[in-house]
């Protein structure tokens, strides 16, 4: 029975971890290229969740269609915020960009609250479930997992097989060198920020496919916290590392629950959180470049 539970939780953790990983890739991409920590990351996830909610409840559009829609909305928001705020702060002290992204996050929360109110909402996308023996998996969760893997693969191919992707990598490696070689660094910055935000909004859609309730303007906070742990785990500058970090985080978060439950008198959830932050500390101390060494 215990092994069955552990296997079920690990499987659920893997599926959720893929979505967590996807939800962190935008954060890592922006930090990797622009060296800006997007403290308002969770607010962009929240916007993605609201895009899904609105498309599904008001227009009856499937969350699968909401993924590219949210990505495009994210691109638009990314360009707007880049040219109005972020561009001026790239060379400014880190605190300025931290405060700017924090403010953007609050602005988004309040705008969404103004439009949709502060209630906790949800939607019911009734899809069949797959009984795996050790656990039950709704198809919506499976779609979210597969969607995350596909987006991660597309990003990988884009980075490695296109000129724009190569330009982006060159800026990450050496900004001055890239300039000398004729790369338009400012455009790369703008594109990276926009794509990072687009990915984050798309991950908001995927997260609601996994958990289609609790959608409200302030839902982003807990995801920001998790994204930072995952980003450090995967290497703060590496979007792929972030994806693998998400998988590891999901596995540890879900798997450890079953094991901690064996300790008498202990509430397992309290220890899984403790473990997450212990993990963050240990990785920062012994391998600050993350599990993929920043690749």
């Amino acid at each position: 029975m215990l092994l069955e539970q552990l296997a079920g939780n690990l499987f659920q953790g893997l599926v959720l971890g893929a979505v967590y990983g996807m939800a962190t890739m935008g954060l890592s991409l922006i930090f990797g290229v622009l060296r800006i920590v997007n403290v308002g990351h969770g607010a962009f996830i929240m916007v993605g969740a609201f895009v899904t909610l609105w498309l599904f409840t008001a227009l009856g559009i499937s969350p699968l269609v909401a993924v590219p829609v949210a990505f495009v909305v994210g691109l638009g928001l990314g360009f707007i915020f880049y040219y109005t705020a972020i561009k001026k702060l790239i060379k400014a002290p880190e605190l300025a960009s931290l405060l700017a992204t924090f403010s953007i996050g609050i602005l988004l929360e309040e705008v969404i609250k103004l439009i949709f109110g502060s209630e906790f909402r949800g939607y019911n996308w009734a899809l069949p479930k797959i009984d795996l023996g050790v656990t039950v998996l709704p198809l919506s969760k499976l779609y979210a997992c597969i969607g995350s893997i596909i987006i991660a693969l597309i990003l990988y191919l884009w980075f490695n097989k296109t000129r724009a992707g190569t330009a982006m990598r060159s800026v990450v490696e050496d900004t001055e060198g890239a300039k000398v070689c004729g790369v338009n660094v400012d455009r790369v910055y703008a594109n990276s920020f926009a794509i990072g935000i687009g990915l984050t909004l798309a991950s908001g859609v995927l997260l609601t496919m996994f958990i289609p309730v609790g959608i409200n303007p302030y839902m982003g906070g807990s995801y920001t916290l998790k994204a930072f742990v995952i980003a450090v785990l995967g290497g703060l500058t590496s979007p792929y590392g972030a994806f693998f970090g998400g998988l590891v985080f999901g596995l540890i978060e879900n798997g450890s629950y079953t094991l901690f439950a064996l300790i008498p008198g202990v509430e397992p959830f309290a220890l899984t959180r403790f473990l997450s932050f212990l993990m963050l500390l240990v990785i920062l101390l012994i391998r600050p470049t993350g599990i993929l060494k920043g690749k």
Binding site: Q5, F120, G122, I211, V213, E253, T258, P268, F269
Partner: protein, 426 residues
Amino acid sequence: MKKAGTLFKITTLFTFLGLFVFSSGAHAASKIVIGHPACLSGKYAKAGEQAVGGIKACVNWVNKVYGGVSLGGKKIPLVYKYYDCESKKEAVTSLIARLISSDRVNVVFAPYSSGLTLRGAPVAESRKMLYMDHGGANNKIFRQGFRYVVQTIGPATRYHEGTLDMIKKIDPSAKKVALAYEDSEFAKMVMFGAEVHAKKLGLNVVFKRTYPKGVTDLTPLLSAMKAARPDFVLGGGHFEDGQLFSRQMADLDIDVKALSLIAAATLPAFYEALGSLAEGVMGPSHWEYGVKYSEAEAKKVGLPWIGPSQDEFVALFKKAVGKNIIPDYHAAEAGAQVLAYVLAVEKSNSLNSDKVRVALGDLKFMSFYGGWDVDDTGMQVGHSMVDVQWQAAKRVIVWPEEAQTGKLCYPMPTFKEKAKGKLAVP
């Protein structure tokens, strides 16, 4: 020397006169001000909006129908002064101080939730200000030795007593109960009360765990609960985790005979978010539209009646919030608190917190909200809860039998049946 003696006498005379006037408070008042740090945004915004609507509805009733509060031979109007505390503890304390010092309110109504109520209590207590609690159910509030805290909402330990009694009566073979609650003061107190009562009824608690506030995935906990094979489940904490709880039980196909969730299941937004998955889910409630409390019922049990009838309250509430929505228990308990305060002021013929507090201690009455009576600590003991169940997209009162608006659907439909469109109709 003679001059100094005269001055002393005059000063003493004015001091006593001043003390008399301020201590009675009955003769100088042209208005009675209720202060309230309300949760109009943040995580308790939903309950906060309801509470403000309920208070406004009853303040309107007192001023326009009742004619004001009888004090010192005059009818004095009520004024409601509130600020948004954003559901934040630090805002609660500063707003209470502001309401007392700057706005010079006569009574403070606590914000929603046990945590926020508890946070504000010492501030009101230190200023000897009456602090009325309509949204903090945790029994611990009344174990701190506060003198000025008086409760309208019922204590947390009694939330699930009715649910357990009902299941025991309907299905004596259902012995295995699972308890899974949010790790908050309020929810843990509910769980404690439920566990004690379950054991008293001879039930077997096969699973008992908490989950943290702000949790985004309950899969590991629910998987473990599924393995314990409970007959029925009692759980929840607040609205957001209640939604998640039901949704993920459905995801994992955890079918039980009954599921009762505190705070979440009684709100319309619960069904809006979950749709048919909410069918059959129950929740304890302090009040529900359809309860049968009336002037005649009050007469029958020998209690004085005050306030609007249930339908009058609903109409006043709709006008107050400007929306065509039915109030929930957050609105009703906040509204009933206004009525309790009015009765106590009239009974003591004073606005002095100490005198009103004594009057509240002696007060027993019935309103649209039901019975009202507090013990020596200020904790509510006169109000009974009801259990509601979602049946065909409507909330039906299923317990206690004397308040029923419909029969319980038991066992509730399985998630597979719900997916095929089966409704929880008995």
